[in-house]
């Protein structure tokens, strides 16, 4: 499989604190990769660098072979990467429909087409009943789904999910897992996800990348990685399944 | 023109600039801690100026002596304003707070207009026409006293924030709101106190300013804008920056007024603002913007 996303030696410091150190990994086209690690390992920083929110001090990020590091977030999105925020950022004063529509406009040439697309995605994420509701009135699990819907609506080749299952009930988690599986199987959507809910990670991922103290300490198939002593020590040792 | 004229104008500009700097310092302190933009800043200053004028014309009380009680009155006004009006707006969107203070400013200016009329009012102190000669330099006594007073008050303020417990507590609030709450600081009270201190600054400033210019109600918005320009020029949240910006703007106004026409002097102020925003948007002494 060819790599859709290649992260090559990125480093990032915040006023002396090393958040990422020479991080490299590949996300093959059509795969679902889990990015895991203990709190403060640098997962979200890594996302932000890829998405263009913060600029890496060194290293390259390539999407389908083309460099995208140093791009603005909107350029990265138009290049084909959709992302969610760990702390959800809904357009609080707009309706669910309008929220998703804004995302869909990225993928459509007309507002009419975007409305249709947004409608479909709202349906897929089980928000149909809430389509007219103001985002501020949604519950947290609903907001998480809205976050995913918006990112999905932009028509990404790569979807980056930052803890979208945290705080969900097990049934809701299963629903999300099933959804991502379908999207991956039917549309060939590539997914990179940060997740603490191991149940979801193990159910979804075809590969895992483990970050600790800003460094990649293990990468490979889930079964292999979870058996790695270094991983067990730093991560599973603390937050055992 | 001989060089002495430039030098004299420059010195008088710097002295006026110190008073401007103190005014901007008040704004900067309020913004830095309470995170509220005091859009009524200049209006509060004109209130202080009218107080000084009224006290002088009624009882011949020297504005520099009245500086302390006037600052106290403005302190109280600031405290009440923060506690009563602004505090409920702390978590409202920025534009909401801004409009609240626009309303307060609008009421203040026009209340002054109703109370005192549109004519300019000033004070004639015994030293109004006195001056000190330092070699080729001739310095107006008025400006010298005002500048000196501004430096004294600013120095006091620096000392307060550096050495007193309350000053440190206020700085803690500014650095980390949640942290300040966690360690048990009464943030609401400290916010009100900060707003009051910032207001006292403009109160003191107003008493000095009447030595330099006559007061009219529309001066309020002009000074509000001037204070903002200074704070942005000096760097938002930097106390030393506010003073530096004040001096820079005072100097520019004076020299610009000399080279062109005095009525166009504020155009140079805006030119400085634009230059700063173009080349150093965080201000002269400000921290880098993200």
């Amino acid at each position: 499989m060819t790599a859709l996303l290649e992260v090559d030696g990125i480093s990032k410091s915040f006023s002396g604190l090393r958040a990422l150190e020479n991080v490299s990994f590949r996300v093959p086209e059509g795969s679902i990769i889990g990015l895991i690690g203990p709190n403060g390992a640098g997962k979200t920083t890594c996302f932000n660098v890829i998405a263009g929110v913060s600029r890496a001090d060194a290293g390259e990020v390539r999407l389908a072979g083309a460099r995208i590091d140093g791009w603005r977030p909107d350029q990265v999105c138009r290049a084909g990467i959709g992302r969610t925020f760990q702390l959800v950022k809904p357009f609080a004063g707009l309706s669910v429909m309008e929220n998703v529509l804004v995302g869909a406009l990225n993928a459509c040439s007309s507002v009419r087409a975007a409305k249709a697309r947004a409608g479909d995605i709202i349906e897929q994420l089980g928000l149909a009943e809430k389509r007219g509701a103001v985002a501020a009135a949604l519950t947290l699990p609903e907001r998480k789904r809205l976050e995913v819907a918006r990112a999905l609506a932009t028509g990404p080749r790569l979807l980056m999910l930052d803890e979208v299952m945290a705080g969900l009930r097990p049934t809701e988690t299963d629903h999300m897992v099933a959804l991502f599986r379908t999207l991956n199987a039917n549309l060939g959507l590539t997914i990179l996800l940060i997740e603490h809910v191991m149940r979801a990670v193990m159910a979804l991922s075809s590969g895992l990348i483990v970050l600790n103290h800003g460094q990649v300490i293990a990468a490979g198939p889930p079964a292999e990685v979870t058996g790695d002593p270094a991983v067990l020590e730093c991560y599973l040792g603390e937050e055992a399944l | 023109m001989p060089a002495e004229i430039y030098l004299n104008v420059a010195v008088s500009g710097v002295l006026t600039g110190l008073v401007y700097g103190l005014m901007a310092l008040g704004l900067s302190v309020i913004f830095g801690v309470v995170r509220v933009v005091n859009f009524a800043h200049g209006e509060m200053m004109t209130i202080a100026m009218y107080l000084a004028v009224a006290l002088f014309s009624a009882y011949k009380l020297d504005p520099l002596v009245m500086l302390v009680p006037i600052a106290a009155v403005l302190f109280a006004l600031g405290y009440v304003l923060q506690r009563g009006l602004i505090n409920p707006f702390i978590n409202r969107p920025e534009h909401s707070q801004f409009m609240l203070l626009v309303a307060v400013a609008l009421i203040m200016v026009n209340a002054l207009l109703i109370a005192f009329g549109p004519d300019a009012r000033g004070v004639q102190t015994s030293y109004a026409f006195a001056s000190f000669a330092l070699g080729p330099l001739i310095v107006d006594a008025n400006k010298a006293y005002a500048g000196l007073a501004a430096v004294t008050v600013a120095g006091g303020l620096f000392a307060f924030f550096r050495y007193t417990l309350t000053g440190k507590a206020i700085r803690a609030c500014a650095d980390n709101y949640a942290g300040a709450l966690v360690v048990g600081l009464d943030v609401k009270r400290l916010y009100a106190l900060t707003f009051a201190i910032g207001s006292a600054c403009v109160g003191a400033c107003g008493s000095m300013m009447v030595l330099l210019v006559d007061v009219t109600p529309p001066l309020g918005p002009t000074y509000t804008l001037l204070a903002f320009v200074i704070v942005i020029t000096g760097g938002l949240g930097s106390m030393a920056g506010a003073l530096l910006g004040g001096v820079l703007i005072g100097l520019t106004e004076a020299v610009g007024g000399l080279l062109f026409t005095p009525s166009a002097k504020s155009m140079f102020t805006f030119a400085i603002l634009v230059v700063v925003l173009l080349f150093r948007p965080q201000g002269l002494l400000g921290k880098r913007l993200t």
């Binding site: 809904p90 932009t154 | 801004f98 309303a103 209340a111």
Partner: protein, 343 residues
Amino acid sequence: MIPLLTDGVPRRGLKLLAAFSVALLAAPLVASDYLLTVLILVLYFAYVGQAWNIMMGFAGQLSLGHALYVGLGAYAAAALYVHFGVGPWLGLWVAMASAAAAGATIGFLAFRFGVGGVYFAILTIAFAEFARIGFDHWSWLGGSAGLFLPVANYGGNDILTLRGSPTMFYYVMLAMTASAFVLCHVLLRSRIGYYWLAIRESADAAQALGIDIFRCKMVAVVVSAAMTSLGGVLFAFYYNNLFPEQVFHISRSIELILGPIIGGIGTLVGPIVGAFLLTTLAETLSEIMRAVGIDLPGIKQVFYGFCLLGVVMFLPDGVWPPLGRWLGLGREEGDRGSGEGKR
């Protein structure tokens, strides 16, 4: 075209709108001269309020210096007419271009670093003040002594040079206000409209969804500035005199934003409702003061101040959202919703 305009608008709303339009069209037939001048003022504030609302209500960028665009429009059209005999219909293009250029400059300085908010608001005031002082010293435009247009001949209405009776100005102003309303309605349902709302609600999220924030904000400033300048053109030809001290003054900018704030920021109907409420209340107040025989020059502004204070404190979404619900019109698209949006 028609479905584009009526789509998603409740039937009841259309009926009310139609009734309201008819009343406005018929007003000059019954209104006294005085009432007509008040109505012209109402329409003027509704128009410029609508233009300001594009920036603040739609894109979330607070401008406190819109008098700049009014003034630039007024001076551009008036100067062309006075000095070169160029009529307002040609002059308005110059007016729009100069206001748009000024807006773009301010926007560029403020938005380039992503620091909107306070910086932007201050810059807008600073530029308006800059223009006020600059125009005061610009003798070609009359300087502080003012620029005067040849006084209108009330004998006939010449729509080409905008010389005529208040009734003519009323209809021109009404046409402009109606066009602005329709334009904003269309904008809100267009791509850029949705982008603006997204930026207003959360700039970070908007950017993550592929929106070029800088460009969208620039478009908002330019469109709003150009629209506002048209209000200035009409202002110049209606009042026939321009003084920098009055046209560019900060209190003009404040007056201009009160309507949409009181009516409801970000709503289409808000600026119109706000302008009606505020202007009629202020005129009533003036009338009462005159009747009682008290002459207090600042009283109207104090009244404005308390209106603003009251609305900001107790009706943060403005008068229209609750009024609209009461009329059974429900939520309007682009509405601030619950108002607990930002922060």
